[in-house]
Every structure is written in structure tokens, then in C-alpha cells.
Amino acid sequence: MRVSKRASSAVALGAAFALVASGCSSSDSDGGDAGASSDGAITIDGTQPEVGLVPSNTTETGGGAIIDWIWTGLVEYPNDGSAPRNAVAESIETSDSKVYTVKIKKDTKFHDGTVVKAKNFVDAWNWGAYSPNGAQNGSFFADIQGFDQVHTEDPDGAEGPKKAPEPAAKEMSGLKVVDDWTFEVTLAAPTAVFPTKLGYSTFMPLPDAFFTQGAEAFGKKPIGNGPIKFVSWEDDVQIKLTRFDDYSLNDKMKIKDVNIKLYQDDTAAYNDLLAGNLDFQQQVPVSAIAGDKWKNDLGERAISSTTPSTGIIAFPIYDKRFQNPKLRRAVSMSINRQEISDKIFFGSRKPADSWANPLTPGAKAGNCTACQFNVDEAKKLLAEAGGFTGELVMFYNADASHKEWMEAVAQQVKTNLGINARAEGVPTFAVFRQNINAGKMTGMYRAGWQQDYPDVENWIGPLYVTGGSSNDGKYSNPQVDALAKEAASAPSLEASHAKYAEAVALIDQDVPSIPVYFGGQQSGHSEKIKKIELSNVGELDLTSVEL
């Protein structure tokens, strides 16, 4: 029975009465400014992580950013979006893209002082893949041989009454520790992009303490191996980080303390930024973007950047009304993306003209011919497709700001094609995703994609290959599947990218979804910060900050 903690709530309530009644609240100072020294401190905005900070179990951005800061993986992604480079890894070698030998650097440490060894990676990956642990990112280990032995699928889906069988093994057969500094990874099938994936947070090493403490306790006080270490976490209020002085890799911190203030409202954060109460906000609120108000407010402290993400409208291809590629192409070509970019997003997002975001290595700009705005061609294609009868509803989740652009798209389709189109909000993201997951969408719907790791594979595999993890519209083209498979098993990344380009050409003919805009980000910082860089996905690179 758990009692001890709960009893405190009644006491605290009484204490609050007493505090207010006597008019004396605690009056610690704010921490004070440390000034513009190299030991300075900054306060940045964040959101309360939804779950404990365990790399393979965090999928949302609030916790994801913190994991990116306090961990360093085998490889890391340069801020300019170029090809990944080795970080903890000394070398990652393969002759056939199937068996990889990973050597790690000998002098890196976890924040608890223990040395990062090969087994810390192997143990962490095995934990993440083992299905009874229920890690949200577990499927990222599916490339590795023996994944199907540790990760069992529910025979009738999570909704059904049957339970998933106990996995036959606890460890993947494809992972082998050779010595303290070397391990060998055997994949189920050749995968050229595998080393690129290794910088994604799921593949971070875990110290022995993780296994003695258990995931829940560890997640509240995580121990990483990155340039910044975790200090404390006050739920819904703040998370404190500080420089890890024993960090031996390149990106050392130039400042000392980082206080992540956990906001519930981005306007509150923005007002704090304007008042000098906050040093960095990753994304200013929508209300500040209208009419470029944020640029007037912040002047030189406004940072406009692009992120490798794309706003998409997807087709439920399982619905027979949407099975004709000509119809899909007609809808796509009737959308004036430039106008939406200018009028709805005030130029903060760029019109999409390619299938994979061009900021991603291996992706080509301008390869989406279906993204061109051409009303005559669209009308012709619609006529060839036999028109569209009934109402074309475009769904979006109403708990985020998608209403305006979705309505604009629906209006354009209506005006340009004469289809009876309209946009409809679904109250919450949860209900929206539930319908999508269940394959019950009765119209087109908003989707979006931000890369997990910088390679064109991450834009094709999950979205357009049969059975891909986010191929929600159930698009399937055997030729695309075959090319993607060839690309994955290509001997080099260049060869792989060439194959993906071929696959994209086929996707462009089929138009399984409609890319609408490329992501942009509007950040701001305080006068205190002299130098700042953003990571390849638009997060603040804390190691770059200079005061």
C-alpha cells in the first residue's frame, strides 16, 4: 500500500492557508544574473515532458530536446544539416551494410562518472526493443537481427482481447559485445542508412544505473553522457541542467547553467522574452507572427530558420473515392501553395515543391511535379478521372493551429475545381489519430512529418512504403517497395540515394499525399545572448551559446 506521499497533500493545503494568512511567502531571490561571463546562466522555454526521460521511450518534443542535450550518441548531426559525423563512435565499419563493427572512444564518461563502454549501447538497445518494456520508440530497433524474437506483436492488435505472447528471447541475436570498446551489429537485412540512424535519441547508451534503478526512477533523474548534465526537475515549473566538466568530445558548453522554464502557454513565454525574463524561445506564438510583429518586437534578436519538416494533406487511399491517381493529382495541382505561404503564414513557411524536405541529405528539391499550381491541367485531370461526386471533407485536429491553412486549401479546391470541398476540425489530436490509426477517415486529412534522422530514407520508408509506420493512407506500389528495398541495401549512401530518387519519381506519378508547405521556425533570444546556433531540427544548440 502506498500512503506516505499522499498524506502530505492535506498538510500542504493547510500550510498554504497559513502562509497566505500570515502574509509571509518564501522569498528566495530569482537566482540572479551571473552576468556575461563564461560561467553564466540562461533561462530558456520548454514544456513538461510527458514521460520520464528515457531515450527509447520519449517521442514528444518537450522531453526529446532535453534528451538531445544531455546525451551524445555514436554519431551526431551537424547543425548545418550535412552528413552525420562520428561522436562517441571511433569508427563504424561494414563491408556489406549488414554486419557493422562499432568501435567507441575510450575516454567518454556518463554523468555519474562511469565510463561509456560497448555494453552500455547493447544493453540499452536490448531494453528498448524488448516489447514488455513498452518503449514508445521500440520499433526503431527492427533493423537488427533477432528483433522479432524480443518484440512480439499482439495477434489481434492492441484493442483485441488476446494478449501478446511473451517474447522468446530477452536479447537480440544481432548484438554482440566484442570487448569493452567494440561491439558488432548484425542487421536482418542490409541497410545502408543504419549508421545515420545512430544519432537519433533512441540509440543512446544507458549507464548501469539505469538497470539497477529501473526505468521509472531513472527517468526522473536521468544520467546521460552529453556535454550537459541533469540537475533537477520540478514538475510543471522548471528543469535545471548544468555543464558536464568531464565531457571529452568536441562540443563543450561555453556557459554553465541552463534553466528550462516549463511553460503552459507560448504567449506567456513570449511576454517573458520581451520583458527580458527569458533568454530563448524556440517558436514564438502564432499571434506574434501575424504582420511580422515578432520582427518589430525583437529586431536583430529574431531568428528565422527552416526546419526539415513538411506540412502534408494525406489521402485515405483505402477509401475507393480516392483511388484514382488522376483525381489525387488534380486536387494537388489546384492548390496555390505560394498564396497560402504568403497570406496564411506571412511567408514564414515556404511552399512545398518536393516529396522529401530538401534540407534532408539525399533529398532533391523540386521533384514534386504534382505540387505545381496549374488550374487548367487540374481541371483536365479531374475530368479524365471522372470528376468527384459528393462532399470532399478535409479534416484537421482543432487543438493546434491548422484551421486557417486547411480552410484556405479547401476553398482553393472548391474554387479551382468546382468540387464541394470544406475543412472540418476534429476536437483533439487523440481523436484525430484514433480515426487515422483505425483507417476510418472519410476524407482527406492534415498530416505532417519531421525527420527523425537526416536521410531521405526517413521520408520514404515510413510514409510511402507498404506497411510503413506512418503510411496511414495505406498507399502501396510494389515498384516503390522494390526500389526502396534496393535503396536500403545499397552498398553506399550515394547508391542508396540514387535508388530513392527513382522511387520518388514513381511516387510523384501516384500522388499518395499532397505536400503543402515546408516548415519554418521563428525563434527569439534575449540581449544577454551574443551567439547562438540551432540544431539540424531547429532546437537550440546549447553548446553554441555565448553570452
Binding site: K5, A7, V20, G138, D154, G157, D236, D272, A430, P462
Partner: protein, 308 residues
């Protein structure tokens, strides 16, 4: 008096059970699978959904879940959120913050509202009366978030008098602006209620008698007039504490106060029945106890009121 109190306390039990079940059922009926949107633009792995369903016994019928929840509640266990936080801890941190804000708001509205009400009630149709009339209308008409944003922007960003948001220490000085914003609408109601009540009682026989006896005006107003006129105001103030706590959600959001508002909002969105019910349970208790307190205060204000 003792029997009255006992009866009132016993009445709390069915109200308590009724409200908690109703809320449990309502949250349960909110559409949406709690784990459908957890993993971004891809469905969560079955293994994760299975683990969570089993851990929180979400496949049981509603009545069984509610029964389990109540059983644990009586053992002092509020349960856990889906993210693994103890709901008891959330309540222990969030409630005092909201209560503090609500009490500040209550104090501000009582002082300003009553002063304005008494002054205008005694001297009606003057300049001050019209001023209070217009400004109270203004406060009632404006939605709370407008007052909040304007106050935050003007005082916090433009003039820099206060910090735009409240720090985690929740100092009393920082709570004055949010407290004023939260209490603004009620303040206007209290001013108008007090004004009417005073104006009405001003013509009562006992006030005329008191004046005729030659008592000083201060005593007539302070002891005779105010005490009787306060009854409706106290009723409003009493229930207002509950309303302020429950209605702080907008104010808490604007001023970044870690109170129950954000917790309830988050819990409703993520379909965490246990969290919603636990937070509302305490809110219901506050309402019930404040109502009882108000009823008991009547006797102190007007000795003619007796309890059977």
C-alpha cells in the same frame, strides 16, 4: 446547532459520491483513445498500448474502474498519471498555488468591491456612483483573458512594473496583478450587490431609529447598516472562492502559475479520469465546506437567524 452541523456534514457524503461518479463517467465518455496521439504522426507500438492498458486497467468496465479508484482513494492513494507521476503529488503542489491565487483575488475583490459598494450605496447618483457603475459594467463585460492579456502586456512588457509571469516561489507581491484579473468580474458584482443592499437598508426602520438616537454616522453604518447588508455579499464571496479556484484556468495559463487549471486541462485532453476526478474531488470539498461556512456566518451577522 450541533445537530444542524452533523446533518450538513452527513449530506456531504452522497454529494461527494455523486459528483465523483458523474465526473468519472463524463471523462470516460470523452471520445478519443488516450494513447492514439501519444507517439506523434505514427501510431504507438502495440507493446506500449498493451502495457499501459494493463497497468491502468483500462479494459475493465467503467464501474469497476471507478470502484477501484474509490477503494484506493480511501486508502489515501490517488493513483498515477499516464506519465508516471503521483496524482497526490500533483494535488499537493498545484492546489496550494491555486488556493493562494484565489485567496488573493478574494481579498482584493472583497476590499475594493465592498468599499465601492458602501460608498456608492450611501451617496447614490453622484459622480462616484456613476463612475463605479460604468467601470463595473466594463469589468463584467470584458472576458477574463482580455483583462489578463492587457494587464500582462501593459504592466509587464510595456511599462516593466511587474514581471509578466509569476515565478515558482509564488510571492504575494507577484500575485496582485493575476489576483486582480481573476477577481475583477466578481469585484464588480460585489460592488453592485453591496450598493443595492446598503441603499435598501438605508431606509429601514432600525437605521432611522439609530440615526434618531443620535448615534454617530460611523457607528450607524459600521454596526447597524453594514451587518445586515453583508448577508448577500457574504453568500456571494463564500461560493466565489470555489468559483475562483475552478475558474482560475485562464488566469493560470496567462500568468504561468502552476495550479490546478493546467492539470485539469491536461488531464481532460489526455483522458486521465483519475487525475480529473482527484482534482475535482478537492474542489467539490472546498465548495461544500465554503457553503457550510457561509450558512454558519449568517447567524453571526443576523442574530435573528437560528438553525434547527
Amino acid at each position: 446547532m450541533g445537530r444542524y452541523l452533523l446533518r450538513r456534514l452527513l449530506q456531504l457524503i452522497p454529494v461527494f459520491i455523486g459528483t465523483t461518479f458523474l465526473i468519472y463517467w463524463l471523462v470516460w465518455s470523452v471520445p478519443g483513445d488516450p494513447f492514439a496521439g501519444k507517439c506523434g504522426e505514427r501510431p504507438c507500438p502495440d507493446s506500449f498500448v498493451n502495457m499501459m492498458t494493463e497497468k491502468f486497467k483500462l479494459d475493465e468496465p467503467l464501474i469497476v474502474q471507478y470502484g477501484n479508484y474509490m477503494k484506493n482513494l480511501f486508502q489515501g492513494d490517488f493513483g498515477q498519471t499516464f506519465g508516471g507521476r503521483e496524482i497526490g503529488d500533483i494535488i499537493a503542489t498545484a492546489y496550494p498555488n491555486t488556493l493562494k491565487l484565489a485567496l488573493v483575488a478574494l481579498a482584493i475583490e472583497a476590499v475594493i468591491g465592498l468599499t465601492a459598494g458602501v460608498l456608492t450605496g450611501l451617496r447614490r447618483n453622484g459622480f462616484l456612483d456613476n463612475l463605479v457603475l460604468v467601470s463595473s459594467l466594463f469589468l463584467i463585460a470584458l472576458p477574463i483573458f482580455v483583462i489578463g492579456f492587457v494587464a500582462q502586456w501593459l504592466l509587464g512588457v510595456q511599462w516593466g512594473i511587474v514581471k509578466p509571469t509569476v515565478s515558482s516561489e509564488m510571492r504575494l507581491s507577484e500575485l496582485i496583478v493575476p489576483g486582480f484579473v481573476l477577481g475583477s468580474a466578481s469585484m464588480a458584482y460585489i460592488a453592485r450587490l453591496a450598493r443595492t443592499s446598503i441603499a435598501e437598508n438605508r431606509r429601514a426602520d432600525y437605521v432611522r431609529t439609530a440615526i434618531a438616537k443620535g448615534l454617530p454616522m460611523r457607528r450607524v453604518v459600521g454596526i447597524h447598516l453594514l451587518r445586515n447588508s453583508l448577508i448577500p455579499v457574504v453568500t456571494l464571496l463564500g461560493t466565489d472562492l470555489g468559483a475562483l479556484m475552478g475558474g482560475a484556468i485562464v488566469t493560470e495559463g496567462i500568468f504561468q502559475i502552476n495550479g490546478i487549471g493546467r492539470q485539469v486541462y491536461r488531464a481532460i485532453i489526455t483522458k486521465e479520469s483519475a487525475t480529473v476526478v482527484s482534482i475535482v474531488v478537492v474542489l467539490v470539498l472546498v465548495y461544500l465546506l465554503m457553503n457550510l461556512l457561509v450558512d454558519l456566518l449568517y447567524a453571526a451577522l443576523d442574530p435573528r437567524i437560528r438553525y434547527e
